[in-house]
């Protein structure tokens, strides 16, 4: 297997050897393992992109609220302000990224179709960052696909070295992973080298290590959706820092090891069980009672 990889180090070496980008390597990896042509793999990623686009477009126009009524309509509120630059401290790109990420999260909560990229809980960050930034670059759809392939390769390394499941590793494994993946994808889209992509991913992931998964009532709504939105800011920030010449002191592979170590130490109460953190606050317990769930802890 010529294009196989499980670590960032292997990716960087393969990219050097073949003089290719991370996205190209990811495409060739998939083609090799599935026996399908790279054109076929690219087509499938295009379909994935189209589902994401549809979820974003529906989400930014929707007022629908989730069944429990905890979320809904925020994407529309944010998106309405993307041109009011005098009112907003961030810029159009970050605000739009947050609107898109919220849109996907809300669509997921309302039982609409989304791409679990890499999971349903962290599904907002990648489309948020990549679609908003590609609009800013006025980039063609080709560049967006590059970002998606690069992000997938980074996700694969996290899945191999640690986990992408909040039930195993908490929110660092879902939103945290998505932020790292987006930071790398964006860095490749703006012409960064494979090394720079992993510096961005490392800086991003380091900031999310140890994040608990403590959703209200166990539902993928609060705080998940807003965490996706804020995650976009972190991803764009990490990529910007790298473009300014900053590097991560700790290599990406070591950050992934650290993430796995934290996952092993983390209490099950903070791993998607709704038994700790925000889930057991006064508000969290109110939602639990509404759902008919047992209230185990009162803060």
């Amino acid at each position: 297997m010529e294009y196989q990889f499980k670590t960032a180090e292997e990716v960087i070496n393969l990219c050097k050897k073949h003089k290719i980008s991370i996205s190209e390597l990811a495409k060739r990896y998939e083609s090799e393992r599935s026996g399908k042509s790279t054109a076929n793999v690219r087509e499938r990623m295009k379909r994935t992109r189209d589902v994401m686009y549809e979820a974003i477009q529906k989400g930014i126009k929707s007022n629908e609220r989730s069944k429990m009524g905890m979320v809904g309509g925020d994407a529309k509120k944010i998106y309405k302000h993307i041109n009011s630059t005098s009112k907003i401290m961030g810029n159009k790109v970050t605000l739009r990224a947050m609107a898109y990420a919220t849109a996907v999260g809300e669509q997921n909560a309302c039982m609409r179709r989304i791409v679990a990229f890499p999971t349903a809980g962290g599904s907002g960050v990648v489309p948020g960052v990549l679609f908003s930034c590609s609009e800013h670059f006025k980039a063609g759809k080709r560049k967006l696909l590059k970002g998606m392939f690069c992000a997938s390769a980074v996700g694969l390394i996290i899945a191999e070295g640690a986990t992408l499941s909040a039930a195993k590793g908490g929110c660092q494994a879902e939103v945290g992973a998505a932020v790292a993946m987006s930071a790398a994808g964006l860095t490749e889209m703006r012409g960064g080298t494979p090394e720079q992509c992993f510096h961005a991913a490392a800086i991003a992931l380091k900031s999310y290590l140890g994040l608990a998964c403590d959703p209200l009532g166990g539902l993928v709504e609060v705080p998940c959706i807003k965490r996706n939105a804020i995650g976009c800011m972190a991803a764009i920030g990490a990529s910007d820092m790298v473009i300014c010449g900053v590097t991560s002191f700790i290599p990406f592979d070591e950050v992934v090891q650290a993430m796995n170590n934290i996952a092993e130490i983390m209490s099950p109460k903070l791993r998607e069980t709704a038994l700790g953190g925000l889930a057991v606050t006064k508000t969290g317990n109110m939602i639990k009672r509404k759902l008919g769930l047992k209230v185990t802890t009162e803060l």
């Binding site: 599935s34 992000a151 997938s152 996700g155 899945a159 539902l219």
Partner: protein, 229 residues
């Protein structure tokens, strides 16, 4: 399933929200139950255990299970309207919260399907990220694996010998643009239950009927709706 991860395990699956384990995985278990029943049910009862029993409403586990029993794919937007569609199809359904024992995985459901001729129960667990296990069919222990949004799969009941399965596989490989990605099998009442995961284009109804005519094959069913060309 110790296979190399696909890029599309990360960039996917495409699914109807909100949860890969409680919605997409639940739908997959429903699909398995329907395929194993290999008939059209008129009545279906779901016994929900553990976390499935506690949070099924919030995660729409109920709609996803029912959608799966009606052969909806995990990305099918009609999952939202599964109750209404079941009523149109005159499929009676009921959800009952029940403790299925200490050893059951927290996300477990026992599905009992009935029509005027037959009755079957299928127990399955959603073990995370859309991956599922079928652990019991009619109180008979089995172990079959599935994964939401990855492959189109067939369920077949065959004579209990390796030759029969090999012959079956050989016939699938003859089909153009379809290849076998994985086979999972389990003993079942002196027979073999096999799950065949396919890659490539969608298999056609006529092709499934041909497969069913092979010697030693009791039945073949697709987990999701087939193209009728």
């Amino acid at each position: 399933m110790s296979e190399d991860l696909s890029i599309f395990d990360i960039a996917g699956p495409v699914m109807v929200g909100p949860s890969s384990s409680h919605t997409a995985g639940a739908c997959k278990i429903g699909q398995f139950a329907r395929a194993l029943f290999h008939a059209t049910p008129t009545e279906v009862v779901f016994y929900l255990h553990g976390s499935f029993g506690e949070v099924y409403k919030g995660h729409a586990t109920d709609r996803a299970l029912l959608g799966g029993v009606m052969k909806f794919q995990t990305s099918d937007p009609r999952i939202r309207d599964a109750f209404e569609i079941a009523k149109e199809k005159n499929l009676k359904y009921e959800f009952i919260v029940k403790d299925l024992g200490e050893n059951a995985h927290p996300n477990t459901v026992k599905i009992v399907l009935k029509n005027e001729n037959s009755k079957m129960s299928v127990t399955g667990s959603s073990i995370g990220g859309g991956m599922i296990e079928i652990t019991k069919v009619d109180n008979f222990d089995v172990l079959l694996h599935g994964r939401a949004g990855k492959y189109l799969s067939l369920v077949a009941q065959l004579d209990h010998n390796d030759e029969c399965l090999l012959n079956f596989q050989k016939h699938i490989n003859k089909l153009e643009d379809i290849s076998v990605a994985a086979i999972d099998k389990s003993d079942f009442k002196k027979k073999t239950l096999a799950v065949i995961s396919l890659e490539g284009r969608r298999i056609k109804l006529s092709e499934v009927i041909e497969l069913e005519k092979l010697e030693g094959v009791d039945f073949v069913r697709s987990l999701s709706k087939l193209e009728t060309q």
